[in-house]
Amino acid sequence: MNALKKTLGAVVKYGSLIIGAVVAIIPIIAIFFASFKTSGEYTTTGPLTPPEDWTFIENYIRAFTEGNMLTGFLNILIILFAAIIGSTLTGSMVAFVLNRFDFRGSKILIGAFLLATLIPAVTTQVATFQIIEGLGAFNTRWAAILLYLGTDIIAVYIFLQFMQSISVSLDESAMLDGASYVDIYTRIILPLLKPAIVTVIIVKGVNVYNDFYTPFLYMPKSDLHVISTALFKFKGPYGSEWEVICAGVMIAIIPTLIAFLALQKYIYNGLTQGSVK
């Protein structure tokens, strides 16, 4: 009786895990298969039939060259780099000030950063658009960089939280040696914040690489396409050429897959820590 119950438990457990895994993978597999099919093959075979010739990479070449994806990668790299450096610096600086000094208005400031996370950015685009346009940043990479710095304030949180675990006695002993506050920030705090910086890189990296509406609204020019918007452009002209679209989708998700396989542990930890608001 007990043995039966145990087997049944195992069947349910592994059965549900396998179903879950299949559901998670199948939509990706279908895209993967289709990306290697010729257009004739695509129309005559089912989506879950593997391609005849795995070396047929014509779709990838077309997606990459006609689909503006090189520009997309370059732009997203520039934006990612600027957003990560920028939010690491601004976030750690403001976290240093808010954590180490108790001054008039510091509580209000913390509250202001806290409250801002309640505002879903997608709801305020109507007015944000006018500000970006007023600054002359519309249709420049600055639009995305500024918005990633100014509205995605998660970095401030991650640093504020992490600062609490860095003992103030470190600052004090450095002060006995005559270190200035700037020295303390650059030589003690910033190096110790390394794990938090990794978290910020991961969280920002995922958010920025996958963001659609910021580049879509603020950088419509085709020179400024990022991966999301370059891919979105496939929708009209390639409407009937699904095999090319699928190759484009694969090109967009391959970097994610590589990053995931290489940095799995950091990604898990980063996202878990980054989520605690």
């Binding site: 895990l17 895209i31 989506p47 879950l48 305020t124 920030y185 995922v206």
Partner: protein, 291 residues
Amino acid sequence: MFRFSKLSYSAQRRVVIFSFSLIPVVLLLTFSYLPVFNMFQYSFTDWDGFSEMEFVGIENYITIFTNPEYFSVFKVSLYYFVATFFQMGIALYFATILSYQVRFKNFFKGVLFFPFLLNGVAIGFMFLLFFRPEGTLDTILHALGLSEYIKLWLGNPDIINISLAGTSIWRYMGFNFLIFLGAISSIDKEIYEAAEIDGANKWHQFRYIILPGIKMIVSLNLILAISGALSAFEIPYIMTGGSNGSETFVIQTVDTAFKYGKIGLGSGMAVVLLLIVIVVTVMQRKLVKED
């Protein structure tokens, strides 16, 4: 020569506080608070983005609440709202299972989580292919002998929102799963052992140890997911552009403001959504705190 370290600490303090927080605060005010403030202002005007702004009082709000065309799209949010609970349930189920001894644990964890990392546009195309007539889903149903259940997943206005909300579950479940898994692993292992000695089965362990241990995290995730459901935008916009009855409030807001140039009305809609999201969040935080 001037050297910063020669200044007294109290002078340094003032300089550091000011210079370190200047840029972050300017960014915060310009891109997080100013838009909200401006949006309130625009919402009382008939501005089209170019001509003179004219004050129209609460006319935009009257339009939003009385014209069924505008407010009825909130019905679509209900699909995403309900999906949220499925999403949490599935995430909680897999997180619980995988926090016990399981073979290939890392493989299952990785596969269940991975969709969350994917680009939203890529996911949109993936599921356009998935739901197409004779697409991936139909092929699977044929293979399982369930051909009679095949529907026009994205063509039928009665089903389209279920398909899209399902896509949303596929996309976001992995995140909740990961967070729940982390929360469960922080529960002291000895408690399970003690419970097992007392004869508690797995269900008891879940009900009396795991669930109370992660209640806080679950409710916080629920709040985030609910505000996410209210402001659902990416998946329906990318996949259908809001056609066929899949238009959400945010799609409508963005279209009203940017496609039809009614910045005033669009702002009013955005204000309504913002207030609803804030009320939901504050209410739930209160509830969580009271527990």
